[in-house]
C-alpha cells in the first residue's frame, strides 16, 4: 500500500467514527435512536386486536395519535406516575387507560381519589389483552399513531423527563 494512503488511514477511521457518532446524537435528539431502550417487538406493528368493556382496538384508530396506558389501582408506581398523566391531559394529549387485573370498583375508587387523567377507560380484568400488548407489568405506556401503529413503548412509570426528552419529540413527529 502507498505510504501516504497508510498515513491517511487513521484520519479516515476517525472521520468515519465521528460521522457515526454524529448520526447517533442527531438520532437521539429526534428520538429515532435510543441506545438505552430495550426494543419492543411491537414497535412499528399494528396494535393487537382486542375488545374490552370500554373500547376495542378499532376505537384506537382515530386518525390522530394517542397514548395507551396500562395501570392498576393496586400498583404503587402508578400512583407515582399519575401526576404526569394529569399533566398530559392538560396538554390535550389523549391518554386511553386500560385497567389491568383490577376490580372495577377499585379502579373507580383510584380515579375518584387521584383524579381522572383518561380520555377513555377500558377494563382488562383477566389481563389477557395486556399479554397481547407485550407488557411485563404496570404501568406501561404506548404511543399509537393515527393509523393504529405502535410507535413507542415505555415499560416504566412516566416521569416529566421521559415525557420531555423521549415522548414529546416523537409526539411532535407523529402529530
Amino acid at each position: 500500500m502507498n505510504r501516504r494512503a497508510l498515513l491517511l488511514a487513521p484520519l479516515g477511521v476517525a472521520l468515519l467514527a465521528g460521522g457515526g457518532f454524529w448520526e447517533m446524537l442527531a438520532g437521539m435528539r429526534k428520538g429515532t435512536f435510543n441506545p438505552r431502550g430495550v426494543p419492543s417487538p411491537l414497535i412499528g406493528k399494528r396494535i393487537p386486536a382486542f375488545s374490552l368493556p370500554g373500547f376495542s382496538d378499532t376505537d384506537l384508530v382515530t386518525g390522530k395519535p394517542l397514548l395507551v396506558n396500562f395501570f392498576a389501582s393496586w400498583c404503587v408506581p402508578c400512583v407515582e406516575e399519575h401526576p404526569v398523566l394529569m399533566d398530559l391531559k392538560e396538554q390535550n394529549i389523549p391518554v386511553w387507560g386500560i385497567a389491568y387485573k383490577d376490580k372495577p370498583a377499585a379502579t373507580d375508587m383510584f380515579i375518584a381519589r387521584h383524579g381522572d387523567p383518561y380520555f377513555r377507560l377500558a377494563r382488562d380484568e383477566p389481563g389477557r389483552v395486556a399479554i397481547d400488548w407485550g407488557t411485563t407489568g404496570v404501568p406501561e405506556t404506548f404511543l399509537v399513531d393515527g393509523q393504529g401503529i405502535i410507535r413507542w413503548h415505555f415499560a416504566l412509570p412516566l416521569t416529566p423527563e421521559t415525557v420531555d426528552e423521549e415522548l414529546m419529540p416523537l409526539w411532535r413527529k407523529v402529530a
Binding site: R4, L7, P10, A14, G18, G20, W22, L25, M28, P35
Partner: protein, 653 residues
C-alpha cells in the same frame, strides 16, 4: 459575588487560552523570539485564572451557596465537608472545570519544568495545549457553566448521588483525570514535533516522563474505580467490561504502548512515526472516553448528566482536536525519517511486539465497546457485548504479552539471541511451571495458566535483577555495588512488570472465589469455605445525612474469632436512595466479604464471599503505579537535571 468572580476567571482563562494558542504557534512559525518567550507566561496565567475559578467553585460549595444552580442540584447543607469539596467534581459541570484545570496545570508544568527544552519546541507544545484548553474552556463557559445562578435560591440543595458519597470515589475522578489529561502533554509534544518536522532522541527523552506521569495516574485511577465498584456496588466483582470502564482502559493500553515505544525513540531513534501516532491516538481515546460518557451514547451504570446537545458540542471539539492532529499527521509524518535499524530478535523487537499486542487488545476492546452502538445505528439491531466476548478475545492476546514481558528486558539492543536469554530465565520458567501446576490442582485450566503467567512475570522481574547484578557470578560485594548503581528506571520497569504479575494473580484468584446467599436469624451461623459467619445483631445507625441498618457478623475459623464485620445498608433521606456498604476483612491474601440484603420476619439476607487473592488486584496496580513513579525519579528523566549538571561542570571549570 464569589461565583461571579469564578465566572469571570473562567472567561479570562478562555481569553488567555486564545492568546496561548495563537501567539507561541505564530511566533514559532515566524521565528519571532518575543512571541516565543511569551509562551510560559501565558501558560502560567492560564493556570492562575483556572485555579481561581476552581477555588471559587469550591468556596461556593463549602459555604452552601445554593443560589448557584450547580451546587443546589448536587449539594446539601448536611453533606459532610469532605463531600462538599469533592462533590464539586462529582457532577458534569464541575468535572469539566476540573478537566480544564488539570490541563492548565499541565501547561504550567511544561512552562516551569521545560526550561531545558528548545524554546521553539516548548512554545509549540504550550501553544498546542493552549488550543486544546481553549476549546474545552469554551465548552465549560458556554455549554456547561458551573457558575450559573438560580433564582429564587432553594432553601436546601438536592444532594449528591449517595453512591458517589464515598472516599474511594471522591478521589477517583481527579486521579483518573490527571491520567486522561496528562496524555495531552505527549499529544502536544507529538503535534509540536510534526510542526517542527523533527524528532530525535531528545524528543523521546522529554516525552517519556510526561507519559509516565500520566500513565501512573491512569493506572491508579482505574484501580481506584475498580476497587470502588468492588466494595460499594456489592456484587463481589471488580471489572464489568462496562463501556465506561473500557473507555478508561483504552488510553491505558495505548498509553502503555506509547511508554514503551518512546523508549525506542530515545535509545534507537526508530519507530518515530508510530510513536507520534500513538501519542495522538492515546489522547484521542482519552478525549473520546470523556465524550462518550457525557453524551449519553454509552449505556452504563456510570453515566451521569448526559445530554445530546452537549454531546454535539464535544463532538465538534473532538473533530477539531483529533481530526486536525491526524490531518497534520497524514501530511507531515513522512518528514520524520527513522534512522535506527534492528533485528526482529532484539530489545526493540520485543518492544515492537509489545506495541502490536497492546494495540491489538485495544482494537478488540474498542470493537466490543462500539459494535453494539454501530450495529444499532447501521442495522437497527440491538445486541449487547459482554464479559464472555472480552474474556475470550483479550486473554489470547494478553498471554503472549505476559510471556514476552519477562524476556524483553533481558534481550540486548539491536540484535540479540533468544536462546541465551531464555537460559538466563530458566529458574523463573521453572517456578512459573510449578506455580501453574500447583494451581491446576484447584483451579480450572485458564486461571491456572494465568497463575503460571503471573509467577513468570514476578520471577522474571526478579531474574532480570539477578542477571543485572550478576548475583553469584561476581563476588557478592560487586553485586551489591551493581545493585546500588542500577538506574531507577530499571527498578521501576521491574517493579511495574512484577506489579502486573501480582494483579494477574489476583484476577486469576477470583476464579477460586466462593459465595453463598442465605437468610439468617440473629444468633444463627453460616459456613463458607471453612469459615463460620455468625449473625450477632441487627441494629439501626445514624449518619450525618443518612440512616443505616447494620448487621454485626462474627467471623471465626475452628472456633477462633477472626473479625467482626458490620455490613450496612444506608438510606439517604434527601435522595431516597439506598446504598449497600459491604464489609470486608482482608488478611492480604483473601478477602472475606459480607453484604447485608433485605430483611424478612426478623431474619436478614446475608451474601457472603470468600475471595482468594482479591486484594492482590489493587495491590498489584499500586505496585505498577509505584514502579512508574520510581522510573519518574530516574536521574536521566529528571527534567532539568542535565542542565544543572552541565552548569555545575561549567562552574567547576
Amino acid at each position: 459575588m464569589i461565583p461571579e468572580l469564578g465566572h469571570f476567571a473562567l472567561a479570562l482563562a478562555v481569553a488567555i487560552a486564545v492568546g496561548q494558542a495563537a501567539l507561541p504557534l505564530w511566533g514559532a512559525y515566524r521565528r519571532d523570539a518575543r512571541l516565543i518567550a511569551a509562551a510560559p507566561a501565558l501558560a502560567i496565567g492560564q493556570f492562575i485564572a483556572l485555579a481561581t475559578a476552581f477555588g471559587c467553585l469550591i468556596w461556593s460549595s463549602v459555604t452552601d451557596d445554593f443560589s448557584v444552580r450547580n451546587i443546589a442540584e448536587n449539594s446539601h447543607s448536611l453533606k459532610p465537608l469532605l463531600y462538599k469539596i469533592t462533590g464539586v467534581w462529582g457532577d458534569h459541570e464541575g468535572s469539566i472545570l476540573l478537566w480544564c484545570f488539570i490541563l492548565a496545570i499541565c501547561g504550567a508544568a511544561v512552562a516551569t519544568f521545560g526550561r531545558n527544552l528548545p524554546s521553539s519546541l516548548r512554545a509549540r507544545v504550550i501553544g498546542v495545549l493552549g488550543a486544546t484548553a481553549c476549546g474545552f474552556e469554551l465548552f465549560a463557559l458556554l455549554a456547561s457553566n458551573p457558575f450559573l445562578r438560580l433564582w429564587p435560591p432553594p432553601i436546601d440543595g438536592r444532594d449528591m448521588n449517595p453512591l458517589l458519597q464515598d472516599p474511594g470515589l471522591a478521589f477517583h475522578p481527579p486521579i483518573l483525570y490527571i491520567g486522561y489529561v496528562g496524555f495531552a502533554v505527549p499529544f502536544a509534544f507529538a503535534v509540536a514535533a510534526l510542526l517542527e518536522g523533527r524528532i530525535d532522541a531528545a524528543w523521546g527523552r522529554w516525552v517519556r516522563p510526561w507519559t509516565l506521569g500520566a500513565w501512573c495516574c491512569l493506572t491508579g485511577g482505574i484501580a481506584l474505580g475498580s476497587w470502588w465498584s468492588y466494595y460499594i456496588l456489592g456484587w463481589g466483582g471488580f471489572w464489568f467490561w462496562d463501556p465506561v470502564e473500557n473507555a478508561s482502559l483504552l488510553p491505558w493500553l495505548t498509553g502503555t504502548a506509547l511508554l514503551h515505544s518512546a523508549i525506542v525513540v530515545e535509545k534507537r531513534e526508530a519507530l518515530k512515526t508510530w510513536t507520534v501516532l500513538l501519542a495522538i491516538g492515546t489522547f484521542s481515546l482519552s478525549l473520546s472516553g470523556t465524550f462518550l460518557v457525557r453524551s449519553g451514547i454509552l449505556n452504563s451504570v456510570h453515566s451521569f448528566a448526559n445530554d445530546p446537545t452537549r454531546g454535539v458540542f464535544i463532538l465538534g471539539l473532538l473533530a477539531l482536536v483529533i481530526g486536525g492532529s491526524l490531518l497534520l499527521f497524514a501530511f507531515r509524518a513522512p518528514v520524520l525519517a527513522s534512522s535506527g535499524l534492528f533485528a526482529p530478535i532484539s530489545r526493540e523487537g520485543a518492544l515492537v511486539l509489545n506495541n502490536i499486542l497492546l494495540c491489538s487488545i485495544a482494537a478488540v476492546v474498542i470493537t466490543g465497546t462500539m459494535y453494539p452502538l454501530f450495529a444499532d445505528l447501521l442495522f437497527g439491531q440491538k445486541i449487547s457485548v459482554g464479559a464472555p466476548f472480552f474474556n475470550a478475545t483479550v486473554l489470547p492476546l494478553a498471554v503472549p504479552v505476559f510471556g514476552a514481558m519477562s524476556i524483553g528486558p533481558v534481550l540486548s539492543w539491536k540484535r540479540a539471541a533468544l536462546g541465551p536469554a531464555l537460559i538466563r530465565l530458566w529458574w523463573a520458567a521453572l517456578a512459573a511451571l510449578a506455580v501453574g501446576l500447583i494451581a491446576s490442582l484447584r483451579a480450572r485450566a485458564l486461571p491456572a495458566l494465568c497463575f503460571g503467567a503471573s509467577a513468570w512475570m514476578i520471577f522474571g522481574a526478579l531474574a532480570e535483577l539477578v542477571e543485572r547484578i550478576r548475583l553469584f557470578r561476581v563476588p557478592f560485594r560487586g553485586s551489591i555495588a551493581r545493585l546500588a548503581g542500577l538506574p531507577r528506571a530499571t527498578y521501576g520497569a521491574m517493579l511495574a512488570h512484577a506489579g502486573l504479575g501480582v494483579t494477574i494473580a489476583g484476577i486469576a484468584g477470583m476464579s477460586l472465589a466462593a459465595d453463598t446467599i442465605s437468610l439468617v436469624k440473629p444468633g444463627d451461623a453460616v459456613q463458607l469455605a471453612g469459615y463460620e459467619f455468625r449473625l450477632l445483631d441487627l441494629r439501626d445507625g445514624l449518619g450525618s445525612n443518612y440512616t443505616s441498618r447494620i448487621a454485626d457478623v462474627r467471623v471465626s475459623r475452628d472456633g477462633r474469632e477472626i473479625a467482626t464485620l458490620s455490613p450496612s445498608r444506608r438510606t439517604f433521606t434527601t435522595q431516597t436512595m439506598t446504598t449497600t456498604e459491604a464489609a470486608i476483612h482482608t488478611n492480604g491474601i483473601r478477602d472475606l466479604y459480607v453484604v447485608l440484603g433485605d430483611e424478612r420476619d426478623g431474619a436478614a439476607v446475608l451474601r457472603l464471599h470468600d475471595n482468594t487473592f482479591a486484594p492482590w488486584i489493587w495491590f498489584g496496580a499500586l505496585i505498577m503505579a509505584a514502579g512508574g513513579g520510581l522510573s519518574l525519579l530516574d536521574r536521566r528523566l529528571r527534567i532539568g537535571a542535565p542542565v544543572r549538571a552541565s552548569r555545575v561542570l561549567a562552574a567547576a571549570e
